[in-house]
């Protein structure tokens, strides 16, 4: 996808691994952590955030362009690496926006540093065993079916991925392999995270797509209950990937919450 925003692509070596990130805009810093299917380079949602904030989109280690740390065994390791990156970039008091799997990473970061972040936005966050339903098991469906499950409509999916190129399929596979390496069992959740969320001081906004077929809404409810200061918003007409399906609506919610 193209962008009218002037993004700068950079990399940093963290824990011996090359970590890529894109940065644009100015204002209060926002760190964006992507889904388990990786991210395309430019998205309207990212552009919208960069319109009023210093926005850093991190390519998570092992996903997309960033190198795979062979030693990594848990999403908490990613959280520590992103914290390290922010320290090296001298980014302080940032807000973190975690998308799906990235929501889990964001929650881990916040639990590790309860006072480190200004605001926390978790969008369809994984990381907690839903009391009702299960997180969709991507091991049982093909790459396109899984990515498509993140959208409520075919049109929204096609607007981002088109016919899904073979290169994109390979990226999906690389991302899936990394997810298996660090979140295979228990699948896509932590048994300890719920007990640690109570320490987080940052106000939190938990957003879910009305038609999320990947992460049951009940997981978001647990987040809202476990965090000290959190509320939930439901974006109508969206699937799991609210950032790609309803970018303007989500950007509005996020910027109002962070900058308000």
């Amino acid at each position: 996808m193209t962008s009218s925003v002037a993004w700068t692509d950079s990399s940093a070596t963290i824990a011996g691994v090359r970590l890529n990130y894109s940065r644009a805009g100015s204002g209060r810093p926002i760190v964006v952590l992507h889904h388990d299917i990786g991210t395309v380079d430019r998205l309207p949602f990212y552009d919208a955030l960069a319109g009023g904030n210093d926005t850093i989109v991190v390519n998570l280690p092992g996903y997309g362009k960033s190198e795979r740390p062979e030693w990594m065994r848990h999403p908490r390791d990613i959280a520590a690496m992103v914290q390290w990156l922010l320290h090296d970039l001298n980014v302080k008091n940032a807000s973190v926006v975690g998308l799906g799997f990235g929501g889990w990473i964001a929650a881990e970061m916040a639990s590790q540093g309860p006072s480190d972040f200004a605001k926390l936005v978790l969008v369809g966050p994984m990381g907690i065993l839903p009391p009702q339903g299960y997180i969709l098991d991507q091991a049982l469906v093909n790459y396109i079916e899984y990515a498509r499950a993140g959208f409520h409509t075919d049109a929204a999916f096609a607007s981002v991925y088109g016919d899904v190129s073979i290169d994109q399929l390979e990226i999906f596979d690389v991302c899936r392999e990394m997810s298996f390496r660090i979140a295979w069992k228990p699948y896509m959740y932590s048994q300890t995270l719920p007990h640690l969320l109570g320490g987080v001081r940052a106000p939190a906004l938990v957003v879910v797509g009305e038609h999320d077929q990947v992460v049951p809404h009940s997981a978001a409810d647990v987040y809202v209950t476990a965090l000290r200061s959190a509320r939930k918003e439901v974006v109508a007409g969206s699937g799991h990937c609210v950032d790609m399906e309803k970018p303007a609506e989500l950007a509005g919610l996020v910027t109002k919450f962070i900058n308000g």
């Binding site: 091991a139 093909n142 596979d173 390496r181």
Partner: protein, 413 residues
Amino acid sequence: MHLMYFTEQPMSAYSEKSGKEFGATALMFSNSNYDPVEGSRLYNQYLEEYIWAEECGVDGIMLNEHHNAPFCMQSQTNVFASILAAVTKHVKIVILGNPLPLSENPVQLAETLGMIDMISKGRLVSGFVRGGGQEQLANGVNPAFNRERFIEAHDLITKTWTQPGPFRWEGTHYQNRVVNPWVVPMQKPYPRVWIPGVLSKETIIWTAKQRYPYICLNTSIEATKAIWETYDAAAEEVGYTPGPENRGYLIRVHCQMDEEKALENGRQFMWMQGEFTGLAHPVWSSPSGYFSPTQRRNFVQFATGRAINPRGEPTYRDQLDSMLIIAGTPKQCIEKLRFIMRETRPGIMALWGNDGFVSPTDSKECIRLLGQEVMPALRETAKELGLNSPFEANAPVHLNYSTDLRQPARAAE
């Protein structure tokens, strides 16, 4: 030549219609389609056939393991190996193999195999496999670490078998603070290890570097020759020149005195559409991280239906013509098997005799003909061609026990 009898132990008493409607006969195909009463009948039938195979003169009985699928009833290969250890007297019990990555405790597996070896009085051949992709999912095992777990479990098991305990194992995937099982195999240094496979080049190279025999699972003659080229090159790198004792071959062969009946029964090899894994599901059979990164581009296309099965979909006639399946009278079978022997020069052969819905009577007749007519003829041919088994060649169990290397043995990778 070491000649074995093999069957997948087909769970033929299930609803084929249900399988076809579901679209896959693996992993997620509901076990509500499984009838344990029929399972009991079939288990006992196959046990009778193994005992009969020994009476008919086979050298070994090859066993394997799969999960969540009707094409193979053995979900624990060590169970049948244990039974055969007690009820047979002479045959080698050839497990091809235990899927090592599925084990959460390789030390216990080492103990189990040690028991089988002792109860059988030293007749165990302990093959190891990575296990198919869907086996990982059926057992909740991470496919992304499949190869790492395979190699580490192998190293832990062989160390358990050869190094006096107690010792400590702090590996990447396995940590055992006390390794000291009193049960160890009676064969020294340890039971022979054979590695079966089909596709993975990495496994072929690893096997050659251990100096373990590699058993080609019903690969085409051309593919088999290509496998030997890969194996031979890797073997040369570590200082030995492999021979027939390093080569094994599994082939589907159904034999009857009546050619027409043999051809009719041979068609049962197609009951799973000619695939090893029935109506396979490409995502389940090739989960991310399981296959080599060099094959990523091919597999993602296959998994999304954009490419055909890399194994192709040959018809029964195609497979008869290419000798992937042999069906005929003893004379016809011998002739074709001799051709394969001349072309691929294995020292180990497994004859997969029966599959699908072949009747118990016809199965036993096939086994009789294979054991009493076909195998004796093949042994003569093997002598003429110098196709010695690892036992006949007195081959080292592992590279580390070699005495003929052109350079000092390196630690096998």
